[in-house]
């Protein structure tokens, strides 16, 4: 019990009056940060929209060169990591330390699998000369420029998404270390909550990226 009160007093920072105020502020701060992230990715989605309209046919062909099965499997992996993250938050709410650590580690592992698969896919692009630059070559389209634009967007979007995953993984590692030390309790678990929000956001970005990049041509029944 003594350690419990110590955590509480340590957790309340001096600028706040109550723990509820502190928790509200942290959560609101994270939501606003996520709005900035929407604007950040928004620039890429804008560029994608413009070029997809301009070069719809070429984008359909280039998109079909991505392996939709790998992409779908990876989507499943990422969605599962969101599930384990929710379970981690729930475990924190209930003050179950062991379950919290386990679910956080699971989330981290699933995130790692996603990044590993992504790295494999990127390597495939390298093998196939689909990396924008002097070596770029895409069989089967007359205009190499717009095909290259598609892959420029592909790498910019999945690259920035992966960067966010890596940051998320770093945050998870910190959380795991803190959770293992018993720093979170049912009354103080804001960091878990806030990192959870971030993790779900990064997943949601992928939910948009997957159809936009992999599925452009699927309705034609390829």
């Amino acid at each position: 019990m003594a350690s419990h009160t110590r955590t509480e007093t340590l957790a309340l920072r001096e600028q706040f009056d109550t723990e509820a105020q502190q928790k509200d502020a942290s959560t609101l701060g994270m939501w606003i940060f996520l709005i900035t992230e929407i604007m950040f990715f928004g620039g890429l989605f804008l560029a994608y929209t413009v070029y997809r309209r301009w070069y719809a046919d070429i984008f359909a062909v280039t998109s079909s060169s991505l392996n939709v099965y790998i992409g779908a499997a990876n989507t499943l992996v990422l969605l599962s990591s969101s599930l384990t993250m929710v379970l981690a938050v729930r475990a924190a709410q209930l003050g179950k330390r062991k379950a919290l650590v386990v679910f956080l580690i699971l989330t981290l592992l699933l995130g790692g699998v996603f990044l590993g698969v992504k790295a494999y896919e990127w390597n495939q692009k390298y093998v196939e000369h689909h990396i924008p630059g002097p070596d770029f070559h895409f069989e089967g389209v007359a205009q190499q420029g717009p095909a290259q634009l598609f892959f420029s967007l592909y790498f910019a979007m999945t690259g920035l998404h992966a960067l966010h995953m890596v940051i998320g993984a770093g945050l998870l590692i910190v959380l795991i270390a803190l959770a293992a030390k018993g720093r979170f309790s049912a009354s103080y678990m804001t960091p878990v909550d806030v990192v959870g929000l971030y993790w779900h956001f990064v997943d949601i970005v992928w939910i948009f990226l997957f159809p936009l990049l992999y599925l452009i041509d699927r309705h034609l029944g390829r």
């Binding site: 600028q15 620039g43 804008l46 420029g145 717009p146």
Partner: protein, 541 residues
């Protein structure tokens, strides 16, 4: 609390004296001062570039520097002044220091994040300074592609990285302000009791949070294109350089409101305090700040009237740009109406406020000229545009910044600045400013293009006037620098509320204690209620 006590009272200034207590401080007041030092450095750096530009333009032949150097001078002047001085100026210095105090809080919601924001600005600034020392950048502060991505042989990457990093300083400051205003208000401090300074900063923070990330991603794409040949904007691949312009101005037009909205917040405080009247139409002035922030996001296309944008898009953007004039004019009219039957004193901050209202009005009205499709084609890329935005940014934002700095100097430092010198410098700045920039309206209208260092001889008289004005302006800017420092030691000791003002920041000691208030204030009145003030007010006649 009597100011002249000999026993040293504990303040935020004597809470620690070593360098570490400053560089690792989480106190919003100290961080405000850190920003003050940093941006003052950039102000004089950018000012030095401006001096070189004006010296060069004294003669039509352009003998002082080469064209390449001239390109670098105006680019780095813009970069230093916009990203490292004006954007952080009022929010990061005065907002940081006073926003928490005005709402009765002990600090911002995230003090550590606030310190990180300052470090980000410093790191970004070091990138920019490195680029300047290494050889400079010559793309113009707008970094238009494909010049910036392919052809420029200057330090684009370092400068763009610097702006990228400094952008996160701005985003995090905005985030901190929004959360602070929502969650940290003292008991009784309802939204409509907030000082208008706080409303203006809230509106500014919305722009910082929503606009700056778009600049960030635009810079990322620019860097990808320059470094890795991932060509999003490359016309050789079928990409669109105009897309860059859209994305750049989606931030960079609202960025103007990041500079001027906080300035308007300062002016509301000054006009009310020095006419001892509540601001006329408080609510509509508060909402006009939000309206400017919202409308500001819908007008970026007026920078692309001549960039192949469709004429119909141009018409919509032109109309929406005109709409921004409405909330802006509301503010000007309401400040003026506040003066009516007010008990006006002509202390230095009020002189700056008067200067602001006049110059902002000129800058705003000429903004309507350039928002008009037909006239804009005539004045695009001329000195008319240069004069217009300097009236807003220098005549508006810097006047308000200096006015605010004088107004709050006693609270920040516990010392009064020398009133006579301060009034003199305010007058010199006003005259110097107009002499510098008014001739540029005429030059631009007559057709002198910006960004060239040679010009036809018939433009020389007006250019010499402008350069003469710039020297006067430089004197005006150096004076506060000197007497502010002088006042730290020799200034009169400031009372807690020298102006008889109403804000909570005046209800605590000068300089404030470490946690701002000895006990959390409870607010029972609207802002600007002068019946509650028992001012020790100094009589300025």
């Amino acid at each position: 609390m009597t100011p002249a006590v000999d026993v040293e009272r504990e303040t935020y200034l004597n809470a620690g004296h070593d360098l570490k207590s400053w560089l690792l401080t989480k106190d919003h007041k100290r961080i405000g001062l850190l920003y003050l030092f940093t941006i003052t450095l950039f102000f004089f750096l950018g000012g030095a570039m401006a001096t070189m530009i004006r010296l060069e333009l004294m003669t039509p032949q352009g003998g002082l520097v080469s064209s390449e150097t001239y390109n670098k001078l105006f680019t780095m002047h813009g970069v230093a002044m916009i990203f490292f001085f004006l954007i952080p100026s009022i929010p990061a210095v005065l907002g940081n220091f006073f926003l928490p105090m005005m709402i009765g809080a002990r600090d911002l919601a995230f003090p550590r994040l606030n310190l990180i924001s300052w470090y980000l600005l410093v790191i970004g600034g070091l990138f920019a300074i490195f680029a300047m020392l290494a050889g400079g950048v010559d793309t113009g502060w707008t970094f238009y592609t494909p010049y910036s991505t392919t052809y420029s042989n200057s330090w684009v990457i370092a400068t763009a990285l610097g702006i990228f990093v400094a952008g996160f300083s701005s985003i995090l400051t905005g985030l901190n302000f929004i959360v602070t205003v929502h969650r940290m208000r003292a008991p009784g401090m309802t939204w409509f009791r907030l000082p208008l300074f706080v409303w203006a900063h809230y509106a500014t923070a919305l722009i910082q949070v929503l606009g700056t990330p778009v600049l960030a991603v635009t810079i990322v794409l620019l860097l990808c294109e320059r470094l890795l040949h991932i060509g999003i904007f490359d016309p050789k691949l079928g990409g669109d350089p105009v897309l860059f312009q859209h994305m750049f101005w989606f931030y960079s037009h609202p960025a103007v409101y990041i500079m001027v909205l906080p300035a308007m917040g300062v002016i509301s405080e000054l006009v009310s305090t020095f006419s001892r009247k509540p601001i006329f139409g408080y609510k509509i002035v508060a909402f006009s700040s939000v309206a400017i922030a919202v409308l500001g996001f819908l007008v970026w296309g007026h920078h692309l009237f001549v960039s192949t944008q469709s004429v119909y898009a141009g018409m919509v953007f032109s109309f929406l740009s005109y709409c921004v004039a409405i909330p802006s004019a509301i503010k000007v009219f309401n400040w003026t109406a506040t003066l009516y039957k007010g008990s006006i004193s002509y202390a230095t901050p009020m002189l700056y406020a008067f200067g602001f209202v006049g110059l902002f009005t000129i800058g705003g009205l000429t903004g309507l000229f350039v928002a008009c499709l037909g006239i804009d084609v005539h004045v695009t890329d001329t000195y008319f545009v240069v004069a217009h935005f300097h009236y807003i940014m220098v005549g508006g934002a810097i006047m308000a910044y200096l006015g605010g700095l004088h107004y709050w100097w006693p609270k920040m430092t516990g010392r009064m600045y020398p009133e006579m010198w301060a009034r003199l410098s305010a007058g010199i700045i006003f005259l110097g400013f107009n002499l510098t920039f008014f001739p540029q309206f005429i030059l631009g209208y007559l057709g002198m293009p910006r960004r060239y260092h040679v010009y036809p001889p018939e433009f020389q008289v007006l250019n010499v006037m402008s350069t003469a004005g710039a020297s006067v302006l430089a004197v005006g800017y150096l004076m506060p620098m000197i007497y502010f420092i002088w006042s730290l030691r020799y200034g009169k000791v400031a009372p807690d509320n020298p102006w008889g003002a109403t804000g909570l920041e005046w209800k605590t000691a000068s300089p404030p204690p470490l946690h701002n208030f000895d006990e959390t204030p409870v607010v029972t009145h609207a802002a600007y209620d002068y019946s509650t003030v028992t001012g020790e007010g100094i009589d300025f006649g």
